[in-house]
Symmetry: D2
Subunit: 363 residues, 4 copies
Amino acid sequence: MVKKAGVLGATGSVGQRFILLLAEHPDFELHVLGASPRSAGKQYKDAVQWKQTDLLPENAQKIIVSECKAEAFKDCDIVFSGLDADYAGPIEKEFVEAGLVVVSNAKNYRREPGVPLIVPIVNSEHLSVIERKLAVAKAEGKSKPGYIICISNCSTAGLVAPLKPLIDAFGPIDALTATTLQAISGAGFSPGVPGMDVLDNIIPYIGGEEEKLEWESKKILGNLTKDGTDFAPLSNDEMKVSAQCNRVAVIDGHTECISFRFAKHPAPSVAQVKKVLSEYVCEATKLGCHSAPKQTIHVLEQQDRPQPRLDRNRDNGYGVSVGRIREDAVLDFKMVVLSHNTIIGAAGAGVLIAEILKAKDMI
Amino acid sequence: MVKKAGVLGATGSVGQRFILLLAEHPDFELHVLGASPRSAGKQYKDAVQWKQTDLLPENAQKIIVSECKAEAFKDCDIVFSGLDADYAGPIEKEFVEAGLVVVSNAKNYRREPGVPLIVPIVNSEHLSVIERKLAVAKAEGKSKPGYIICISNCSTAGLVAPLKPLIDAFGPIDALTATTLQAISGAGFSPGVPGMDVLDNIIPYIGGEEEKLEWESKKILGNLTKDGTDFAPLSNDEMKVSAQCNRVAVIDGHTECISFRFAKHPAPSVAQVKKVLSEYVCEATKLGCHSAPKQTIHVLEQQDRPQPRLDRNRDNGYGVSVGRIREDAVLDFKMVVLSHNTIIGAAGAGVLIAEILKAKDMI
Amino acid sequence: MVKKAGVLGATGSVGQRFILLLAEHPDFELHVLGASPRSAGKQYKDAVQWKQTDLLPENAQKIIVSECKAEAFKDCDIVFSGLDADYAGPIEKEFVEAGLVVVSNAKNYRREPGVPLIVPIVNSEHLSVIERKLAVAKAEGKSKPGYIICISNCSTAGLVAPLKPLIDAFGPIDALTATTLQAISGAGFSPGVPGMDVLDNIIPYIGGEEEKLEWESKKILGNLTKDGTDFAPLSNDEMKVSAQCNRVAVIDGHTECISFRFAKHPAPSVAQVKKVLSEYVCEATKLGCHSAPKQTIHVLEQQDRPQPRLDRNRDNGYGVSVGRIREDAVLDFKMVVLSHNTIIGAAGAGVLIAEILKAKDMI
Amino acid sequence: MVKKAGVLGATGSVGQRFILLLAEHPDFELHVLGASPRSAGKQYKDAVQWKQTDLLPENAQKIIVSECKAEAFKDCDIVFSGLDADYAGPIEKEFVEAGLVVVSNAKNYRREPGVPLIVPIVNSEHLSVIERKLAVAKAEGKSKPGYIICISNCSTAGLVAPLKPLIDAFGPIDALTATTLQAISGAGFSPGVPGMDVLDNIIPYIGGEEEKLEWESKKILGNLTKDGTDFAPLSNDEMKVSAQCNRVAVIDGHTECISFRFAKHPAPSVAQVKKVLSEYVCEATKLGCHSAPKQTIHVLEQQDRPQPRLDRNRDNGYGVSVGRIREDAVLDFKMVVLSHNTIIGAAGAGVLIAEILKAKDMI
């Protein structure tokens, strides 16, 4: 059955991508679009400054934009939030308290106890914390509670994708460095990254990004508490992470040069690492989710790949590409990871998370 | 006294930059320009496809291009080589055997025993190996022997600049990682890096670059043999180096995100590191060399600097900029280093090396 | 019935795009891939340096590459030529003489009498010259003769698309200027346009391009001779054309700023011009061709459109976008035209021409 | 004698360039820096977000920023205004009424009767309107009146530079078209042109630019009224001008593809046009002004020049480059003109105007 979907922050750049991804989606139908009071009451096509490479879908054009109040979204089976962090806090809280299911791209609740921080091709099993909560409510005869699932930061998504199957196969990684070369699309477009910053230039700093990447990877690659009711992020002793984040002249696709060391030695061989990555099938694919990648991780053998312009669209942006897998003189291995920052790193991840929720009967 | 200068590979991109830097130089005058037999016999202005942002200097325009034979350069006090590695080997050998002094940008002799590999703001004291050789010849009443000095690879130059004073102050660095974001100008212009590779893209591979950066830094930061007649590059045990090299859409200026660990602990503080870098004065500056930077290392405090477009021209490209100096969760420190790849990383380094040779009466 | 397709120059950039477009095409199946003797005998995947944003199609990977000899293509219903002009002349001639149908992207035969020069959304009625020839042969009981159809130059395609319906509606255009801002993809990728030419730069010259644009538009917008057996390009007196062609830092999509004057006055109004463009339906669309655009010409009302990154993919690159339609102080009208240079301006045009040939029973 | 200079809008991008150009200028010394009340009272180095490729000059760093009130500038011999158009109107008016001399980059007074609109290498003779006014005041024993000189729009400056000597030599131009490819630096940097607009893209629209280019060229290339007290811009009948303005991925340097027709026929030959352009010496050069170009117009013969990255810095950005001069099928001639938008098209023009004012004893 097709689920009713709402979008919060529908006129922003993340909101626009949610709308593109949902417009012809077999599992969801656009039901409510929420934006600022300035936009509310207008037809969506008149409220939005559409800046996507695909045309504004016809079935979204005439939807009358609502304010971001839970009342307007009460019929939604799921609500995707593309709100800015400045607004997301109280609005998302109100929605959850009203019993709604929110999948949010905002950073506000990522570190909140009990809130899953999900990269859908990596740690969908973390959703069990919510499943358990739903089961308890059901057992107690209570109405289904609202909840929020957070989408990870864009550069975190690419980083953890190849690490998860490696940890599953070879045990913990105790040291990890990542230098990122990040696309500008994630910063939005008005103004986003100024042209003067990006032409013939690099900006070796993205506010808050290194902290996000360092912290979120520890929650995503971490475990659940023993009772299964919460998350137990890795400690610094368990996994040291150091990130250096750069903005470069690329439209879409984050490239990350990473190095890492396994806790157990001898470390596996390069061939073993490649094998594990190539054979990894994420749960979303096993569940048959519509957007799940056919190949979760593409191991590229050409020495000059992955490249963002050529490889970012593998599996419609839901697949991650890994190349130049080789031994590292300082840690154990180094490699180049490429992921599509607006697909698996933002709106696209939200949609795939929702598909998983549906497959697991959580919405 | 003004020294007579020759340029090998004068029509290539490195050769053109040598000519620009030498055309109005107080220490040198352009005397002989050598290029392929195809160009020999023509006026330089007719032989070259000039692609610099400054006009072809008048005093170079009408020089008749010579072939790259030592005979034609015999009056030169110094010869700058911008030859491709494919040609540099035998030609430079012939020049040295003919008693000429060659400063070469080619990679061919960088690993040769007895050949100094010099970043002029870093290890000019390595020239003592040649000074000693010259002294011996003089003592033995022999004529002054020819010799070659190699300019380092461009990405190596930026990397070692801040490390040298830190090692001098705080002792050996035993682990070092560097992820580079390198400009395209170093690859020349016909064709150099294709536009399709560089627009909306990154190439996560530069042939041979990682090996050069890893090996050359060990020779440059290494010591002399006990008898002072040769070089003793650091071993892998003394300093582990791991590089990941990327080509990005920048015209000039290599950005490097580096991390390193000191052998001795406790490591210095961030403030101590900044102080040592800020106070470093390279020998070329002390010698009063014309092109030597007033400030060898610029320590930038703004969180989004250095940036290639804004900072590559510090001290006419002879100064290196370092920013974002901070502690590193995996090694001790991380920082961003920016250097001008065609100045301190190529032709400009050659000219400053020659100025040092002159200041030391070695030419 | 699915037609057997051959591709000449299959490893080049135009050839690769033919293969992508044909790999899952309902009307054609890849049958023979021709390339240089160096590639012949290898599997296509081993012969090609694949540089497309889509993966090499599975059904092309293992095809054994042939030499470009008619004998190897004799079973092909149609042959697409992506050959360089340096090679296309004699090879395409041999193919036609052997009775094959060639759709060529090379410039060699574009000015040849009797050879149609086709922009498939513009002048498919010019194919009648060939239809007549086929009918004559049939009437005479001769076997079906081979023939060649030329694809126009990329910047010509975008230019003539909006002019054709305007001429049909309002009579001849007697003066036309076009300043182009052309993408780099048309120049191929090894080396194509050097990165040093395209970063922070413009090249105000493309060899031969202005002449092509000026001449080809006169043939495409011209008529047939009275007997219908040949083409009567417009004379300079009938239509003066002046082009200024520039290469800019865009991957795909040619932008053209054009002005033009109608021979008859008073000229139509801006509103009339927009109406005619919006309502234009090309013959390929009427014929129901698979790749034909739903909307041939998109008239954009936003003042800052069309933009190559946002608008080049309208109708999968087969639609042309026109914006900023306004009166011109020197001629009658000015406007901005955007077309996808590798789709409607090259390989894609070839495929749509072939679809038209099939729809007209010419293959 | 060194003149005291003030700068209005000192923290903005135009203001920063005024400061760079004036910091070591032999004719001027930085005396007062004016900015918004938010900046007033701070040292300049603390008030500005410096974004130039040269370091903030030492002699500007510690100047205490003033508010933009005439009182604070009363000792200035000349005031350079880099104010935004939103603020320039009343402030510049107050300054002139207070008897100050203002050279303004803002558009506010460009169309005002009696106000010279000056491209300093083109129409410095238009300053006679002010000279006459000063002479009248002097004759009447009045104190020296304040006045304002407007700098032209950036794309206008490049356009009129080659046209002026051609009109002087061959009579009026009655039709002129210009398609511009404009750099992003003119739009400032916070935010200026968004990176998403400029990477792999073109914006075929710059608000108000076409109107400015069309109107300003008529004033600059026009004459004085008979009595010499005001300006008589060309009418549309005298010179038709049509502009199409585009923003492209270039940091500095506006490229313009222009065509034009002389009123008198036969038109001169291409050789005659080149000769007149090459031999043109602007008045500022004859007056020996410090920043005046040695060569006002560089006629380039290579078919692929001028290019912004390679040619924008001719004569420190005060020289204009013209290439591809050839006959035009629609009008008489076409050519490519390149000028440095922030030098001859903005702050640099202001400084050269001031040098002319000084040379003419007008300040």
